[in-house]
């Protein structure tokens, strides 16, 4: 078994190579997480955090009607954005992988989709403001075309604007993993299905979708987690008319109410973790990633 021999031979001390990563994650992710959980049980007054053990932060969190409204609102965004980005991610990847040749053109078009990902989210978000506003490009075009006679009011500072911005910012997170999964499908498998008499849509349903499920799962995890954790899109694009769980949390942090903010953070973390574990229990993401 030559492969096995070479992999035991090299790299030397391979498990130690993970130490810097493990250490950094422990210090800047593990410890902070533990502290957030600890602080969520602390008491507080106007100026200080008081290290005792109280459950009042959680009691208030669960007794507040606002909590449930916020979650309902945030989950609503997550579900809509997930559905739209999945449609976009699947369609775009499918087009690139199965319809674009040669390989260099495929790569170029893929990069065209990914370039905005490497630029500022805030800038990309505010770029919708001159587009969707009352006197924005979209309304002016509609009026010029005679489709409407008053500017549409619901375009900006609304749920619609929030969803548009989410899709704009996060659809790449769906495209990249799905593209990656699809690109690894052996064309012979699809030819076999076609030769066996499967139509175009049957091939998609019974070959392409099952073989892309790792990518779909990864993309879904990203998109759901990003929407659930957002505060800036909802703040700007809803024009203050809507809110999310984290936006409410950030308002508490702004007035230095750390313990209730921490309790709210723990609640959100549990919800997001449950969603992610749910997705991972359907698809074994790790085995296909590193295996």
């Amino acid at each position: 078994m030559p492969v096995r021999r070479s992999s035991t031979w090299w790299p030397p001390f391979h498990h130690l190579l993970v130490a810097p990563l493990a250490l950094l994650l422990l210090v800047f992710f593990g410890v902070p997480l533990v502290l957030v959980v600890a602080v969520s049980f602390f008491d507080f007054d106007q100026f200080n955090i008081i290290p005792t053990f109280v459950l009042t932060n959680y009691v208030e969190l669960f007794n507040s009607r606002l909590t449930y409204t916020l979650y309902a609102n945030t989950i609503k965004y997550a579900v809509i954005v997930w559905a739209v980005t999945l449609l976009i991610g699947f369609t775009v990847s499918y087009f690139l992988v199965f319809h674009v040749r040669p390989f260099l053109l495929q790569l170029a078009l893929f990069l065209l989709c990914t370039v905005p990902f490497w630029t500022s989210n805030v800038i990309r978000m505010i770029s919708w403001i001159p587009f969707l506003g009352r006197h924005g490009i979209f309304n002016q075009s509609l009026i010029a075309l005679g489709l409407v006679d008053h500017p549409l009011e619901f375009l900006l500072f609304s749920d619609f604007a929030v969803v548009i911005a989410y899709v704009h910012l996060f659809s790449l997170f769906m495209i990249v993993p799905i593209f990656n999964s699809m690109a690894r499908i052996d064309p012979a498998v699809i030819e076999a299905a076609v030769d066996a008499g499967a139509g175009r849509f049957r091939v998609i349903r019974e070959v392409v979708v099952p073989l892309s499920k790792t990518g779909i799962a990864m993309g879904s995890i990203f998109v759901v987690a990003l929407v659930m954790g957002d505060f800036f899109v909802v703040k700007i694009m809803s024009g203050g008319q809507s809110a999310s769980v984290v936006l409410a949390m950030s308002n508490e942090i702004a007035v230095l109410q750390y313990p209730p903010a921490a309790a709210s953070a723990v609640g959100l973390l549990l919800v997001v973790t449950a969603m992610v574990v749910g997705i991972m229990s359907i698809v074994d993401v790790r085995r296909e990633l590193s295996g």
């Binding site: 502290l35 319809h99 078009l109 704009h168 790790r286």
Partner: protein, 282 residues
């Protein structure tokens, strides 16, 4: 269904139209603000353009109007370079480690995944609290750096997974059979083969840090990075100066992306030219 049969199916045109619309959706609004950043001095946040000028770019450099633009820009670049360096070294090392299972590999993997998907502001809150409890003053080069690494390192790790899944161990074996030691193999064989992937990790490390703000917001300390200046501007600046800043910062990102992608392309081209026989698969 895959092309090759000369005539393209109708689905090709439908999908191509969908793709074109998506690209328009991605770039259309962005190009609008680039144009609007050249708005004349009396122009507003939307079309029409009232003349064309560099007025709003000039306004960025007036201290009182937009805060500390030059300082925050310098800090952002410095921070991004530090994040890039740490991300590259740590991700490559971890990528090598993860080629085999080891005690705790699952734990580290899940820690990385959850570090990636944890809501950014929440992570920032945690890092801020940690520094507060340790009695260390938060700063861009300490607490904010750490908070950004929780975002870039998992990306680096995932890219290394992708790179190694296409890596052919036969090259290492050949090096070993020719008498190379472990470090020689690493330095002269493995790392050069991985170079395009490493550049990709560097690109992610730089751009993700340079644009990051939800995680950085709380543990930044007293001196802002550029994205935090922009974030502050979105809530209180209602002039095209905001667009000018957006155009500038995006231009920087584009330069970085272009440099990274060009160097990857150059390496790949040189490689295919040099070794027509040692083809890497695909």
């Amino acid at each position: 269904m895959p092309p090759g049969s000369g005539r393209r199916p109708w689905t090709f045109y439908a999908l191509a139209a969908f793709f074109a619309l998506y690209v328009l959706f991605l770039y259309g609004p962005m190009s609008a603000i680039f144009i609007l950043s050249f708005q004349g001095p009396t122009g507003g946040l939307t079309f029409p353009m009232v003349g064309v000028s560099l007025h709003w770019f000039g306004a960025l450099f007036e201290q009182q109007r937009t805060g500390d633009f030059a300082g925050s820009f310098t800090r952002s670049i410095a921070l991004a370079v530090i994040v890039l360096s740490i991300t590259v070294v740590v991700s490559v090392m971890a990528g090598l480690a993860f080629r085999r299972r080891f005690l705790g590999s699952t734990l580290v993997f899940y820690m990385a995944i959850f570090s990636l998907i944890i809501p950014g502001l929440l992570l920032g809150l945690g890092v801020g609290l940690t520094f507060q409890f340790l009695g260390i003053k938060p700063a861009w080069y300490s607490s904010a750096l750490g908070a950004q690494l929780t975002w870039t390192l998992p990306f680096g790790l995932l890219i290394m997974f992708a790179v190694f899944s296409r890596f052919n161990p036969a090259y290492e074996e050949a090096a070993r059979d020719l008498g190379a030691g472990p470090w020689q193999t690493l330095w002269n064989v493995v790392l050069p083969i991985l170079l395009p992937g490493i550049i990709a990790v560097a690109l992610f490390g730089f751009t993700l840090s340079y644009d990051e703000f939800p995680r950085t917001l709380i543990p930044i300390g007293s001196r802002n990075t550029l994205p935090l200046e922009i974030w502050a501007m979105t809530t209180n600046v209602t002039s095209p100066a905001l667009y000018a800043l957006g155009t500038l910062t995006t231009a920087v990102s584009f330069v970085v992306i272009a440099v990274a992608l060009t160097s990857i392309a150059v390496i790949q081209r040189r490689r295919t030219r040099r070794g027509a026989r040692t083809d890497a698969g695909d």
